[in-house]
């Protein structure tokens, strides 16, 4: 057994290269704007992220472990971890490394890789993996969320095109514009559930697409979009894989470990925990250091325990991916669940310890540049993002309970 990431001489050399490259392309002295979680279009941060992402992408480091032929870095897991670790140690990474490694890769890229034709992989993956394009996720509808097979949007074949009609919600919650929509739609309303849904890569500029803003709980001032598809004609080449493949694509996604998410944090301590530990070590309340308050101590012990389990589950995910032993299992879902539990534990503990200061966002008074406030609302804002805990448990049940085996 080995629980340690350790640089071999070869890896140490690689690390030096990574550092040098980052110094050159993503310098340490980039000025961090206020409210680091705000991603306003054309804001300094937005521009910086785009620039940084393009640079990382061009180098192949946005998708470090993916094959080079598709625009990935062709790196080993160990090398990928070095890239992530070094990025995470830069001061500007307090934005969250997720901003640099977008879900366009970790979600849409994985799906195209899993079910796309060779031609589609060659066409769509390189710009995705190089960070040149952003896709919005067009899965959820007003009446369909967790139960994706219940989508009502239709895409009916008409000659060499699919005609799309329907409404999607909560697109573009992270980025204010996109190149494509990752769209699922019913291709045959009469066919059986789960066997009648297609996955499309829809260019946003097609006629018949319109959108309105959906404001949402979050600590950035952005929001999501509601998008309307009114007889949008999508050429058949934008259908990814077969016309009934979307369910498989999502199943792959919910359990995929082939390309581990780079922000698994297996080599990086949680920055919020570090901030709060440091804060209570230095801050006095009524003449006593907060770190001497037994309740503060116990609350931070509990967050530490959850974070440690989270770290180990993340390490296990990456190890499974590295060894290529299993493509699916309950472990990925368990890690996701533990992540949500950990975040909730942190959110409550930090608010208990820090009082109303944990709720303040104004740069003058906010703690840790607003990260604490951001963290506090993350469990609420992100409860349904990607997957709800309830649906995670449905998935986990299959393996954990051996139900149906």
């Amino acid at each position: 057994m080995d629980f340690e990431f350790r640089d071999t001489p070869k890896l140490a050399k690689f690390r030096k290269e990574v550092r040098a490259w980052l110094d050159l392309n993503m310098p340490m002295d980039f000025e961090i704007p206020d409210n680091p979680h705000d991603v306003l279009p054309h804001s300094a941060k937005y521009e910086f992220i785009l620039k940084a992402r393009h640079a990382l992408g061009a180098k192949g480091w946005l998708a470090p472990t993916w094959p080079k032929e598709y625009g990935g870095g062709g790196l080993s897991m160990e090398e990928a971890a070095i890239v992530e670790g070094e990025v995470a140690q830069r001061p500007w990474s307090r934005f969250g490394v997720g901003d640099f490694f977008p879900s366009t890769i970790t979600q849409f890229g994985v799906q195209i890789y899993a079910i796309g034709t060779e031609e589609q992989k060659k066409r769509f993956l390189p710009p995705i993996l190089k960070g040149e394009i952003i896709r919005w996720n067009g899965s959820t509808e007003p009446d369909c969320g967790s139960d994706l097979a219940a989508v009502k949007t239709t895409a009916i074949r008409d000659g060499d095109e699919y005609v799309v009609n329907g409404t999607k919600v909560w697109l573009g919650t992270q980025y204010d514009n996109a190149d494509y929509i990752q769209l699922i739609a019913v291709t045959d309303p009469k066919a059986a559930r789960h066997h009648n849904i297609g996955l499309f890569c829809v260019p946003v500029g097609l006629p018949g697409i319109s959108k309105v803003r959906l404001p949402m709980i979050r600590n950035c001032h952005t929001s999501g979009w509601q998008m309307f598809f009114d007889n949008v004609r999508v050429p058949v080449e934008y259908l990814i894989g077969g016309h009934e493949n979307a369910t498989n694509a999502w199943r792959v996604l919910s359990t995929a470990t082939r390309f581990p998410q780079p922000n698994m944090g297996w080599s990086v301590r949680d920055r919020n925990q570090e901030f709060v530990l440091d804060y209570v070590r230095k801050t006095k309340r009524d003449g006593q250091l907060l770190s001497q308050d037994p309740d503060v101590r116990e609350a931070l012990v509990e967050t530490e325990i959850q974070l440690e389990i989270n770290r180990l589950f993340g390490m296990r995910q990456n190890w499974i991916a590295m060894t290529g032993k299993r493509l699916v299992g309950y472990e990925a879902t368990q890690a996701t669940l533990q992540g949500k539990v950990t975040t909730a534990t942190q959110a409550e503990a930090y608010a208990d310890i820090l009082g109303p200061a944990a709720l303040i966002k104004d740069p003058e008074w906010a703690l840790f540049d607003g990260n604490i406030e951001y963290k506090h609302f993350a469990p609420v804002a992100m409860a349904s993002a990607g997957i709800t805990q309830e649906v995670s448990k449905m998935i986990m049940t299959r393996w954990a309970c051996r139900v149906g085996d």
């Binding site: 139960d147 309740d295 608010a351 109303p356 008074w365 609420v380 309830e390």
Partner: protein
Amino acid sequence: MVDLALSEAQEIIKRTAHDFVEREFPAPLAIEVNESEKGFSPELWRKMADLGWVGMILPEAYGGTGSSFVDMAVIFQELGWAALPSPLLSSGVLCGLTISEGGTEQQKKRLLPSIAKGQRILALALTEPDYGWGPETVKLTAKAKNGKFVLNGTKRYIPDVHIADQCICVARTSQGADPQEGITLFLVDKSAQGLSCRDMSAGAQIGEKLNELAFDSVEVDHSAVIGEVDKGWQVLSPVLEKATPVLCAYMVGGIQRAWEMAVSYINTREAFGRTIGSFERIQDHVIEIVNALDSARWTTYEALWKIDEQKPGITKSVTLAKIVSSEGYRKAVDLTSRIHGAAGVDTRFVLYQYIKKSRSFYHYLGGPMALRKRMAHLLFND
């Protein structure tokens, strides 16, 4: 003898209040007012005052109606149900009671009638950067000088003061071994020279505007002192205690509304071919909300009853009620949000206002971590 029902008169108050908020403060208005710059509707405030709610627990001799705390809480529960923001707790309860219990006859005559009518709005300025609700946290100084007092220091996280005419500033006039001694209450005009008020809640998701009040050599007359010099805590402490379960009632109303939203949604929203209310995981969330609701409700009303009837054990009951309400409100809105999926984070949905309020009231008048310490002191008489 044990009777957990409201009296007939209280049922009428409850119906009146419920009808009022349903008619005057529907969800779209709740969003509009709460999201407005001041987070306040002067029009609604006037109507509430006209209904006699502002002076409800103030003495009849000074324009109030001398009602019970349970009466007042019945109204607060409905206000909380509607997420209606107002300076009622600050002005009508915290400051009104402080003046009524600690003020001179002259102060009462001068201030209480206009407070009761809602014409004068007061806010309590107690908490400081070193946040807490005990006397040891009061560090803002008031020094006697030329027959006046000069106030220097900072108050933080103060609700309602941005729309108030005056504030009651809790200041330290002397420092001894016992932090309860040496505290003095001052009535300070918002327009006083050297006093500045800034909104701390910009961009934040908190249900009430929170303000910083900076006192830079603010001078006040001796007549501004409420109660005795150095003995302010003795006036304020029981007022804080009595106001707490009134706030809890507001939170109970919020949990009640969260439950109603949850029940309505789970019986209409469908997933996997069924209404989501048929899933045990969803049902269990609702059961947790109901447990939070009933726990907060009964601990709160027992505390209120003890205050009205002057029963022993008020501190323990109040402490219990606030712990249970703070934790329960946050849990209830978070679960309601989860039940709603992505719709639960849509800020056009009124639930968002409740999520924010659950946060701002979580610590107000004392957060669970501090109150659990107090509960331990009560259990062990230390």
